[in-house]
Amino acid sequence: MGELLDGIRLYGRLVAARVRAQLQYRTSFALDLAGNFFISFLDFAAILVIFSNVPQLGGWSVAEVALLYGMSNLAFALTDFAVGELDQFPQQIRDGTFDQVLIRPRGTLFQVVTGNFQLRRLGKALQALLILGYALTALPIEWTVDRLLVFALAVPAGTVIFCSVWVVAICIVFWAVDGREAANAFTYGGQFFTQFPINIYDRWLRRFLAYAVPLAFVAYFPALYVLHKSDPLGLPAWLGLLSPLVALAAAVAAGAVWGGAVRHYRSAGG
């Protein structure tokens, strides 16, 4: 328990140090934050352009898709904030600087993800919250205790699922250091995949990305539950309750994959 508290305290200090560093270049930071904020709006602009041509997509209205988008992108923004540093991780393998991580008395994954925090990534979270706010006011949701619970747990669960996917995906660089771009298919691909209703995808793509990689539990199933909407795919509503359990399983699996990958690590001799 003391170790956990110590870890949390260290995490806080590392975050604070990075934040102070990033606030040194204020103009650039402001532009960066604004950039992250607007890039997400252009992202959503694409969805609005789609809905300027059709009233609904795969049986989902614009407000319903906005709900999916808000939930998925809020989880994604938090993921990017928490483990976004994994993007830079392949460089550590290439340079051999991962050796230093291995000899320090902290978890390897902890050290890697705390390498750098980008405060500007929060611009994205802000935008996701705004879209979510729009969806919740536009949709006539009858809030009950269970729906509120599913909704409240969906974003943390989605964040854990995304984080797990990021960790597993980046492990490819332990085997093929140049293969990092393949991880994007699951990280940024996962972000793209989850902001649309999964019933518009072909069956094999759904089996792969929605169930095998459990991306349907980030936004789709919880959103169906909250909206009290029957699944166009005919799957039962209680799947929306499972997101936290799926997140837990994903985290355990990701931890195991990371551990196995680290054991496979051979230094480049940095």
Binding site: S28, E181, G189, D202
Partner: protein
């Protein structure tokens, strides 16, 4: 003149070789571009459950558009390019300045070599996967094929000039990421990379057409799927050529202004 062209060619070869040296990276990129091709394709296909055509694009043209954009990601280099900015910040740019070839020209030759590699190894395979899995449409005849290749090459030049341009603020700003991010956002939407410009509401399409961005993605694709045809093709190519020339000129001017500000600490 001949010597300069030979130097260009040699630099282009190096640009090609730099990327050819990492086949695993190419495979990984192919995997990602292909998976995104499927995802984006199904999203856009869902529109055609309710519509038979949108702005001249039917389902087949839209799918072709999707796979072409995926094939052009690496070729045109839609995502970030900060090579120049990094060289400016580190001071390495001085070695470029003492060389007998202008850094803009050298970087353009390098980028054309790079795009040749990406066209063959990141573009063609993605398009082949799309063509095997879906009924894509092909250009109407040899003339259209030829126009498409010319247009794609011009798209690379426009994209290069734009990327070079958003790297130049590094002469003034120590941390240049912000501007680069804004530039990437604008180009990905207004180039028609995310959604075809034909799907835009009129006012948004008008904004897009006032920018150089459609010349990077939308124009070659419009030629490929036949949304632009006949004499319009010549007009479209002229528009691209004008943007390429204008942006390169702007790069040249801004670069010269930046160099005047450049201070490199000893070494």
């Amino acid at each position: 003149m001949i010597a300069a062209l030979r130097a260009d060619l040699e630099i282009a070869r190096r640009g090609y070789a730099r990327y050819a040296a990492y086949p695993v990276a190419t495979l990984a990129g192919l995997f990602t571009n292909t998976l995104f091709g499927f995802m984006r394709g199904f999203v856009l296909l869902a529109l055609f459950e309710q519509r038979s055509e949108i702005g001249g694009y039917d389902a087949a043209a839209t799918l072709t558009y999707t796979w072409l954009t995926q094939a052009l990601i690496a070729t045109v280099f839609i995502w970030g390019w900060l090579d120049l900015a990094i060289r400016i910040r580190s001071g390495d740019i001085v070695t470029d300045l003492v060389r007998p070839i202008h850094p803009l020209r050298a970087a353009l030759a390098n980028d054309l070599g790079r795009s040749a590699y990406h066209a063959v190894f990141r573009g063609v395979p993605v398009l082949l996967v799309g063509a095997l899995m879906f009924d894509l449409i092909a250009p109407a005849g040899p003339l259209e094929w030829f126009a498409f290749f010319v247009s794609a090459a011009l798209a690379v030049v426009v994209s290069f000039a734009f990327r070079f341009l958003y790297n130049i603020p590094a002469f003034w700003l120590l941390d240049f990421r912000g501007i680069a991010v804004l530039a990437m956002i604008l180009s990905s939407l207004f180039s028609g990379f995310v959604i075809p410009i034909a799907f835009f509401p009129d006012w948004l399409a008008a904004i897009a057409h006032a920018t150089p961005f459609p010349a990077m993605v939308q124009i070659p694709i419009d030629i490929f799927v036949g949304a632009v045809r006949g004499p319009q093709i010549a007009v479209a190519l002229a528009v691209q050529a004008a943007w390429a020339a204008g942006l390169l000129l702007l790069c040249r001017v801004c670069f010269a202004l930046g160099v005047r500000r450049l201070v490199v600490q000893g070494g």
